[in-house]
């Protein structure tokens, strides 16, 4: 998977710079939810290209199938039925769920295993399962509830944004297959422009709340959505303003180097206490008292 070995922007649990001599264009996938028909071709293409097959589950009475992301279903369509205030006004909302490829990835920040998670210069966040230890800290760090630990091998898996295809100049498999052109791929700049154009169109058609989902709380994402109702992304299961949890930032941020220094300080402090103050020995006086008692 490590085709992009010279253009690594960040690497998990690594405190020195990663190989970053090669600069590449920042990419993005744009998912236009207003053009999605819920056909699940993207799910099939993902399975096909990555050659992974989920276990056959059971139907839960909705179109959600599989019902959730798993270690072998890296993208799933989520269907939402929204009842509006006027009677008989039912909206069927569909979203392709999967990794958002955050510019500031919580998974990478939380990961304790060096090189198990990398972010390439093009913005793709990729898991390298051979370095994964299976602790699940990436799940703890993710604001979008994306990574899944495999029941088979206890490694974490998620969408790679087809980093292998992108590395050789191809678009991700889901983009290639989408029959309505709802999934687009290009440079982040191009995709943002494309989104603006589409949003203008939607607004012109009376969807005043249309907008782009590229949340600033995680530094922006490399998977963006065009939403019809951008004022309330929660209605299709997206967090309104995702950020890396403050708990994770404290846990993985400044606290650890400080705590490491404090622990080293206690150990060194003890050593120098011994060297400067000397041992606490039984006094000669008391030893003599005991000896005298014994002599009696």
């Amino acid at each position: 998977m490590a085709l992009q070995s010279l253009d690594i922007k960040q690497r998990s649990a690594t405190t020195t710079p990663s190989p970053s001599e090669r600069q590449t264009v920042e990419v993005a996938k744009l998912i236009d939810t207003t053009r999605c028909i819920g056909c699940k071709a993207c799910q099939v293409a993902c399975m096909e290209w990555n050659d992974i097959r989920d276990e056959i589950g059971s139907v839960n009475g909705t179109y959600n199938n599989p019902t959730d992301l798993t270690s072998s279903s890296w993208t799933v369509m989520r269907f939402y039925e929204k009842e509006n205030s006027s009677p008989f006004d039912l909206e069927w909302l569909i979203r392709k769920d999967g990794c958002m490829h955050c510019a500031d990835p919580g998974c990478l920040k939380a990961c304790p295993a060096p090189g198990a998670i990398v972010q390439y210069a093009n913005g793709i966040v990729d898991f390298h399962q051979e370095n994964c230890i299976g602790c699940g800290y990436c799940i703890t760090g993710c604001p979008f509830n994306v990574p899944r630990i495999s029941k088979k091998d206890s490694k974490a898996y998620k969408c790679t944004l087809c980093s292998d295809r992108v590395a050789v100049g191809m678009e991700p498999a889901c983009v290639k297959t989408c029959p309505t052109g709802a999934i687009m791929f290009g440079s982040k700049e191009q995709m943002t422009e494309q989104a603006e154009h589409r949003i203008g169109e939607l607004k012109g058609r009376g969807h005043g709340k249309a907008g782009l989902y590229d949340p600033a709380g995680v530094g922006g994402t490399h998977v963006m959505y065009v939403l019809k109702d951008a004022d309330d992304p929660t209605q299709i299961g997206l967090p309104a303003s995702p950020t890396i949890s403050a708990l994770v930032s404290v846990w993985k941020g400044f606290a650890k180097p400080l705590a490491t220094l404090a622990m080293a300080g206690v150990a060194l402090g003890s050593l120098f206490h011994y060297v400067t103050k000397g041992p606490n020995e039984v006094s000669k006086e008391i030893e003599d008292e005991i000896e005298k008692e014994d002599a009696q």
Binding site: I133, T140, N280, V282, E289, I290
Partner: protein
Amino acid sequence: MIRDPKDLKRYEPKERANHWVVGISFILLALSGLAFFHPAFFPLTQLFGGPTWARIIHPYLGVLMALSFLALYFRFAHLNKMTPVDKEWLGKVGQMVNGDDHNMPEQGKYNGGQKVMFWAMAICMLLMAVSGLLIWRAWFGFDITLVRLGAVVHAAAGAVMIGLIFVHVYAAIWVKGTIRAMWYGTVTRAWAKQHHRGWYRQMTGK
């Protein structure tokens, strides 16, 4: 193993064995835990057969430490009740650390510092055990906010506990004649008279 028949018995064999189980599991937990605490310590995972094995073993060692500490807790909690004399001792601890114990009040089996250590360890152990279960994904799947909180508490309490153990071990090294109590259970009468005079009186009737 009694060098002098008049040496005072401080710990029973089962108490010493219990302490060693806690001690060994603590050392293994600290080494494997530090590996996940900061990348600088990640190579410590090699001591456990590699990083994935370290991740697998760590929580089971945690269960061992929690249970063996619980046993230790029930053995020693009643000897660690704080008294006004302990507070006086703690007030003068600066002089003690500075190397002068002449003004220290008479102490029983444990001094104020040892008692504070006991209760601080007990609190840390409880925090470690509860937060550890919250983040043990092999067996549990708690709500994400609880898991995040668990991860922070586990790391913080772990760091505090490592600091406390440094102090605990150093105190035993600093006060000469102490470590033998952990190995074979006895101390000299002179040691007891100097450091724990109340206990010395109780044991010798003098």
